[in-house]
């Protein structure tokens, strides 16, 4: 449910770290809470964001929600497949349902994020 090598935010995003780059998406828990995703709005490649900025929007049959980046940096890739197939966020949140890739400006911000174990504990406390 929660890949061990990823880091997690309190806003239910995951990041997969590759050097100074991260790939970012929403967690299995988040996609389940949102329900069937029907539209994803992505940022433009090259846009710079500060940590906790909203980088995009996910619309499900229930609600419209912001997607936040837990780290500062520049968008270097977006998952354009989501524009035609938003259901990938539900079907494969950690794989084909990724949202953006960012070049981090401060890798130290990763220390603020949770491990898979900590995130699971956080979910239990929230419930």
């Amino acid at each position: 449910m929660f890949p061990k090598d990823f880091k997690y935010s309190r806003e239910h995003e995951w990041v997969k770290i590759e050097g100074t780059k991260v790939r970012l998406g929403i967690t299995h828990y988040a996609q389940d809470a949102l329900g069937d995703v029907v539209f994803v709005e992505l940022p433009e490649v090259g846009t710079e964001f500060a940590a906790n900025d909203s980088i995009g929007v996910i619309e499900s049959v229930k609600a419209v929600s912001d997607v936040y980046t837990p780290v500062s940096g520049k968008v270097v890739a977006i998952n354009e497949a989501l524009l035609d197939s938003p259901e990938l966020v539900n079907e494969d949140p950690y794989g084909d349902g990724w949202i953006v890739e960012m070049e981090m400006s401060d890798t130290g911000e990763l220390d603020n994020l949770m491990t898979a174990e900590e995130y699971q504990k956080f979910l239990k406390e929230e419930a």
Binding site: D36, V38, F39, V61, K62, A63, V64, S65, P86, E87
Partner: protein, 484 residues
């Protein structure tokens, strides 16, 4: 039974009209229009007889659910019954057949109503002056924010780029702020569903243009710390904006102006007797405290007491300008005026009291079978969730769909976002105890079904013309055009 599309009723050559013989020379379209303007193919209009048209649309209208057909506890929307007499009054020829460009002397009655309604709304909300121009609630919000923006600008204060909204806000609040060019800053609610005061203190700064708030809030609870909240925002140099969507709960009892709000909008179509939910027209008048009056949209209706004459004042150089053609949706203003006149000050207070009483009665009854996330006296609306049936795999959507089988419009679902699986009920003051009791019986039966026969709830609705719709495919792959 489903109703075919009117295109499917079409038969070539069938008509619902008969035109008189042409008494001028006929000219072909080719003679009148350049070739590039002409259609290559005839449009696919349905060809049907008059009786086909009448029966088709009558049947469709009978498939509707409205306040005139049944209970409609759609939270946050105030779907109360509106007296029909107010419709009749708005359609009197002296109101319905006048033109906005008529000379002022010939429409003194209409101008008087606009002026007097402004005074009534000011009294009800504790404001100095109202503009009736905005066409609806969100338009009122935008107008209010434009006033806020111009106010700060005229003071030479250009740092204020942020508007603060609580996480329980109506979605239109941050949307209006964004349209007005503001950055929105969201602040969390505390475990009682109210604004987290410490978070607000941290959020305000010399960048704060305004805080947008509705009170009672979207959870149906009164912000008890409103005076402290107002003081925090004002000390930081920001203004306080009141989203009047929930005014039905406090009319005649509490006034936003007295709580410290500087600017309000009201939804006349919710609180003051205009049917809504069908696409309008509505009205979202904006009222302000005295220091903001110069910024209200142009024109304002003024009264010249020396000559006993009403007139439109355009000579207001600080105004943000016109936000809608002419003077607003005048027919809606007539209905609000008639409603306020007919129920009176005491009646408005009773409206609020009964709205709150009905909500609390229903909340206590339903909380026996459903989960009540905020267990305290509510205002005009409240939230319950189907948490007790989580193990059975029952979601809010299932219960909402099952209510259709009992002939009820469901509550607002999955809002506010801060409550998991929210179902938000607003019974309004116009419903009798019998209506509420019958509704409770149906909700009890649904609760029993959730325990004993969850499948019937999960596959609902069963008694409607069509069953559970595939909302996901409809949203992902919308098919909006009919092709033969």
């Amino acid at each position: 039974m489903t109703e075919p599309l009117i295109f499917e009723l079409s038969k070539p050559g069938r008509k619902a009209y008969s035109l008189p013989a042409l008494d001028v020379p006929e000219k072909s379209l080719e003679d009148l229009l350049p070739e590039e303007e002409l259609r290559q193919k005839d449009p696919a209009f349905p060809e049907v007889s008059e009786v086909d048209v009448v029966r088709h649309y009558t049947r469709l209208s009978q498939l509707n659910h409205g306040v005139d057909t049944g209970f409609y506890p759609l939270g946050s929307c105030t779907m109360k019954y509106n007296p029909k007499v107010n419709e009749d009054l708005a359609r009197l020829p002296g109101f319905a057949h006048i033109h906005p460009y008529q000379q002022e002397e010939t429409v003194q009655g209409a101008l008087k109503i606009m002026y007097e309604l402004n005074r009534y709304l000011s009294e009800i909300t504790g404001m100095e002056r109202f503009s009736l121009q905005p066409a609806a609630g969100a338009h009122g919000e935008l107008t209010g924010l434009m006033i806020i923006k111009k106010y700060h600008k005229d003071r030479g204060d250009n740092r204020r780029t942020q508007v603060i909204v609580p996480d329980s806000a109506h979605g239109t609040n941050p949307a209006s702020a964004a349209v007005c060019g503001y950055e929105t800053v969201e602040i969390p609610s505390n475990d009682k569903g109210s604004i987290d005061i410490e978070a607000l203190k941290e959020a305000v700064s010399d960048k704060t243009a305004a805080l947008m708030l509705t009170n009672p809030n979207t959870i149906g609870l009164f912000e008890e710390n409103i005076e402290e909240i107002a003081a925090i925002v004002h000390e930081a140099g920001g203004l306080l904006y009141y989203d009047g969507a929930n005014m039905n709960a406090i009319m005649g009892i509490a006034r936003p102006g007295d709580m410290g709000f500087d600017i309000v909008h009201l939804n006349l179509h919710k609180t003051f007797s205009t049917p809504h939910g069908g696409g309008g027209p509505g009205a979202g008048p904006v009222g302000v405290k005295d220091f903001l009056v110069p910024y209200l949209p142009n024109p304002l209706v003024e009264y010249d007491s020396a000559n006993n004459r009403y007139y439109l004042d355009y000579d207001r150089p600080q105004s943000i300008g016109q936000t809608k053609a002419y003077y607003g949706n005048f027919g809606v203003a007539v209905k609000a005026y008639a409603y306020i006149m007919s129920v009176g000050g005491k009646g408005l207070k009773e409206v609020a009291e009964n709205a709150v009483l009905n909500a609390n009665y229903l909340m206590r009854k339903l909380s026996r079978y459903y989960h009540l996330p905020y267990d305290q006296t509510c205002m005009h609306e409240f939230i319950i969730t189907p948490k007790p049936f989580k193990e059975k795999g029952i979601h809010t959507l299932d219960i909402a769909k099952r209510m259709l089988d009992f002939g009820y419009h469901p509550p607002t679902i999955y809002f506010p976002l801060i409550v998991d699986e929210a179902m938000m009920f607003e019974p309004t003051e116009t419903e009798s105890k019998e209506t509420l009791d019958n509704f409770v019986k149906s909700m009890l039966q649904i609760a029993r079904e959730c325990e004993e026969n969850p499948e019937i709830v999960k596959s609902a609705p069963h008694n409607t013309p069509v069953g559970r719709l595939d909302e996901v495919t409809a949203a992902r792959k919308p098919d909006l055009k009919w092709d033969s």
